[in-house]
């Protein structure tokens, strides 16, 4: 069943990606061998993925949402007002939801991937995990956000992934895996965690001397995604993200993180 679900996921990804459109400069993976020039008007996201035993190498990758600016929201609202059916309005004029193409890595060591992405400066949410334009697991039940400043490389640390159904050997995922096969719905349900960057985190040699800052992670409350076959929450991060039952805790402010349910 595991293999079948994974094949279905990849198959659907190929169907979906064929129809996708990606603005050329919104979210650009910088590949190995390409020159790395830090532009003052762009932000850069640096992260590592975990080992291939968690199947990341097959293309299940993080999905990031950039929180729209006020100007973008005004543009969106204006277009929505002009639409025939505002309740089902889908806007393609701006892209702020991005899945990463792990094949376009800065480094491809045997046990994972190192990604460097040039993006628009702003506030980002780790929205879930998917493949191409298919969201497999939404982090709808709790996740983190961070700011990506212009002219800087924001180091997200290591993004860890494994199946939620089976026990994971990855320390950060032990408490959120081994849940049994029935957590898999249409697709495999993924469990994920973040190991924030610290002094021991390896920096790619090509980035030596560049302005690198660790991500200022903050807890983000629950939200509903209309294209999520599976739902989960990011594993707790000491000092950043915690849970009390179903409540997401912001351990920086020591308060409950606000949920982002529909406001319409």
């Amino acid at each position: 069943m595991k293999a079948v679900l994974l094949v279905f996921t990849l198959l659907l990804a190929s169907v979906a990606s064929a129809a996708s459109q990606k603005p050329a400069d919104e979210f650009v993976e910088i590949r190995a061998g390409a020159p790395v020039t830090i532009r003052p008007d762009r932000a850069y996201l640096l992260f590592r993925t975990n080992s291939k035993e968690s199947r990341v190498f097959l293309g299940v990758s993080p999905v990031f949402l950039r929180i729209p600016t006020a100007e973008e929201m005004a543009t969106y609202e204006a277009a929505k007002k002009r639409s025939r059916d505002p309740s089902s309005f889908v806007y393609d004029g701006i892209r702020n939801l991005h899945s990463v193409t792990l094949g376009h890595a800065l480094e491809k060591p045997q046990d994972g991937r190192v990604m460097l992405i040039e993006a628009r400066p702003g506030d980002y949410v780790l929205y879930g995990w998917g493949t191409a334009d298919v969201l497999c697991t939404c982090l709808c039940l709790g996740t983190v956000s961070f700011h990506a400043a212009a002219g800087k490389i924001t180091d997200l640390g290591t993004l860890l992934l494994d199946e939620a159904a089976d026990p994971s050997p990855i320390p950060e995922l032990k408490s959120v895996t081994g849940l049994g096969r029935s957590v898999n719905g249409t697709f495999v349900l993924w469990a994920s965690a973040i190991r924030p960057a610290d002094g021991s985190t390896a920096i790619p040699p090509v980035l030596t001397g560049k302005p690198i800052v660790p991500a200022d992670y903050r807890a983000t409350g629950k939200f509903v995604s209309p294209f999520a076959p599976g739902i989960n929450r990011l594993a707790p991060i000491p000092g950043v993200l915690g849970y009390d039952g179903g409540t997401v805790l912001d351990l920086v402010s020591k308060t409950a993180a606000a949920d982002h349910y529909d406001q319409e």
């Binding site: 393609d92 701006i94 998917g130 081994g178 719905g185 249409t186 349900l189 509903v224 209309p226």
Partner: protein
């Protein structure tokens, strides 16, 4: 393979899991009829517990169970298209892109697609509720398939009310063991 992909895409399109957008008002638990759960200890029911179950938590208040289920039902909304939107407004509800599809597989194809759709809908419903309810301390208890279907096919507000009364009510059957 193409047919299988189409089946899954269509299953997603057809998915009609009951869901609630807003938390329904708290009903009077005395007015809620709970189905007979006395058959839940039957070995056949216990064997199928991972497929058909309701949640329960010792000592939880009806109002708390109702609030938890109401929130978790938000996540049961059907997903119409496997393809993500390019733009998500974040502070308001994103729309869903309709899936253009025509049935080129005739009656047999439609029947197969219907069966696949039902199975996937069931799996997604149970998996989502597990991920939302279990961190809140709820535990699964197996119930007979017929009972499960009767309750889950009720309108969302009624289904939430019945499941909340079961969750806060007396023990029945056995906990689901599928780890």
């Amino acid at each position: 393979m193409r047919t299988l992909a189409a089946a899954l895409v269509v299953a997603a399109f057809l998915q009609q899991a009951a869901h609630a957008q807003e938390a329904p008002p708290l009903p009077d638990p005395a007015a809620i009829a709970v189905p007979d759960l006395s058959g839940s200890g039957n070995p056949a029911v216990i064997r199928e517990g991972a497929k058909y179950f309701f949640f329960r938590q010792e000592g939880v208040a009806f109002s708390k169970a109702h609030a938890d289920l109401s929130e978790c039902f938000r996540f049961l909304q059907p997903w119409a298209n496997v393809r993500m939107n390019q733009f998500v407004p974040w502070v308001s509800k994103p729309g869903q892109r309709p899936l253009p599809w025509t049935n080129n597989h005739g009656l047999v194809g439609a029947l197969i697609l219907g069966a696949v759709q039902g199975a996937l809908q069931h799996r997604d419903y149970q998996a989502k509720l597990r991920m939302c309810m279990e961190p809140r301390g709820y535990v699964r208890y197996g119930v007979a398939e017929g009972v499960w279907k009767r309750v889950t096919r009720l309108p969302p507000e009624q289904s939430i009310a019945v499941q909340a009364k079961i969750a806060s009510g007396p023990a029945f059957g056995q906990q689901v063991q599928d780890k």
